[in-house]
């Protein structure tokens, strides 16, 4: 064999050739520059896919670590209030004008779409038994009574012990979005949405809502469009899309 296909290259780099195949391949590789380039190209593509597409536990831990530091070091509230104080009086007309425009865009007399669609009950998957008040049950109760701050506090350590648990991650994500940690909540929700969990499209819907909460309608629509007609919440997504248009 003197011409190798892309499949051979993948098999070689991924260590899936038997020794005879590998020997032939490596003999060619030594002086075939074209082949060397192809191997380098696939190595590069693979590295990109590993870092941007595939799940990796260590990477997720690193990102969570940064997310928590970010919260500590970049705090928006302070900045916003500092800006307000420094506004001179003669600029107040602008502020008034912006408020009016903002009011028209926000249109509170229309029902707030986020609130209208963000009503989710946490389904308890804890078994009700003698010691009924398991942590999970407490989280469920807090979530369903709207105490997202408490739900978050209980869910966080549970998820830390069980990082692959998409159900915990989904409800934690929602609790974070509800308690104004929209960005971090969205990281958790998108992780579920991009994975292969049963809650994939529920999470997709919530990612969309998290953008809606930030008034980013185009991102919201983009995520709603990801929900296929086979998903159980397809109609709900379409309905919301219509309202946004």
């Amino acid at each position: 064999m003197d011409k190798f296909s892309e499949k051979d290259i993948v098999n070689y780099v991924d260590g899936e050739m038997d020794s005879a195949e590998r020997n032939t391949f490596e003999a060619q590789l030594l002086h075939n520059q074209e082949l060397q380039k192809e191997v380098a190209l696939y190595r590069n593509i693979k590295a990109t896919l590993q870092s941007h597409v595939a799940d990796n536990r260590a990477d997720a831990q690193f990102k969570n670590h940064l997310a928590s530091l970010n919260k500590q070091y970049f705090n928006k509230q302070e900045r916003a209030s500092a800006k307000m104080r420094s506004l001179p009086w003669n600029k107040l007309w602008y502020v008034a004008a912006i408020l009016v425009v903002g009011l028209l865009v926000w249109a509170p007399w229309n029902k707030n779409l986020y609130q209208q669609y963000s009503n989710t009950q946490m389904v308890s998957f804890a078994e009700r038994g003698a010691n009924d008040r398991s942590e999970l049950q407490k989280a469920t109760d807090a979530f369903n009574s709207g105490d997202f701050k408490k739900a978050k506090e209980i869910l966080m350590p549970l998820l830390n012990n069980d990082q692959q648990n998409d159900v915990l991650r989904y409800y934690l994500g929602i609790s974070q979005v509800e308690t104004n940690e929209v960005k971090i909540g969205r990281i958790n929700l998108s992780k579920v949405a991009l994975g292969y969990s049963l809650l994939k499209y529920d999470a997709t819907f919530y990612v969309a809502l998290s953008y809606l909460k930030e008034k980013n309608e185009s991102a919201c629509k983009e995520w709603l469009h990801k929900i296929p007609s086979s998903a159980s919440n397809y109609n709900k997504a379409q309905e919301l899309l219509k309202k946004l248009n």
Binding site: S5, E6, K7, I9, V10, N11, D14, E16, E38, L41, Y42, N44, I45, K46, A47, T48, L49, Q50, S51, H52, V53, A54, D55, N56, R57, A58, D59, Q61, F62, K63, H65, L66, A67, L69, N70, Q72, Y73, F74, N75, K76, E78, R79, A80, K183, Y196
Partner: protein, 192 residues
């Protein structure tokens, strides 16, 4: 080009790679305020600054982990330049008012810093193309590649997908082969 010597600031990169709390905290302590100031003074707010800061650290981590990045210049000007460029690119995309494309007056930036930053940007551009092509694969292919390249055991993944291990391997190389073909075609198009 002569083999570049690794800069002693490589320990920052190693710290990111090892998810070392002490070093990462040091990075935040030393540089977050500077990035914040720059972005808040250039049509951004603190949230934007936080996002850019985090994204750049993740870029560095990915480069170090998957493309064995070695630092050949001092970390501080390099990292600040990356943050600034990323922010400028974002402003360009949002087509906000043009910003002074002055890479920086305050810092004394050497050639080595620029060339390493350029290299990294080029890598990011390539990655963006690969990912764009990846998105064009069938859903099944994307699913298989995503799982096959994760750090999970391949046998377990096969079971999760409800296929045999042999089938998973065969399908994985098929999917990746068609991805490579698509990428080559796209690269020829832009070169030719």
């Amino acid at each position: 080009m002569a083999a570049n010597k690794i800069h002693s600031d490589q320990f920052y990169i190693d710290g990111l790679l090892a998810n070392d709390s002490r070093i990462i905290k040091q990075i935040y302590d030393k540089f977050s305020a500077k990035v914040k100031r720059y972005i808040c003074n250039n049509s951004g707010d603190e949230d934007d600054a936080g996002d850019i800061f985090q994204e750049c650290l993740i870029d560095l981590y990915n480069q170090a982990k998957y493309k064995s990045l070695k630092l050949t210049c001092p970390f501080e000007p390099f990292f600040l330049l990356l943050c600034k460029r990323k922010w400028l690119n974002q402003l360009k995309k949002k087509s906000v008012i043009p910003v002074t494309k002055n890479d920086d007056g305050l810092l004394n930036i050497g050639e080595d810093v620029f060339s390493q930053a350029d290299e990294l940007e080029e890598e990011e551009r390539q990655s963006a193309l690969y990912l764009k092509m990846f998105d064009k694969l069938s859903e099944r292919c994307r699913e298989i590649i995503k799982l096959a390249l994760s750090d999970e055991h391949q046998e377990k993944i096969a079971a999760q997908l409800g296929v045999s291990y042999g089938y998973l391997r065969k399908k994985k190389s098929e999917c990746l082969a068609s991805l490579i073909q698509m990428i080559k075609m796209e690269e020829n198009k832009s070169n030719g």
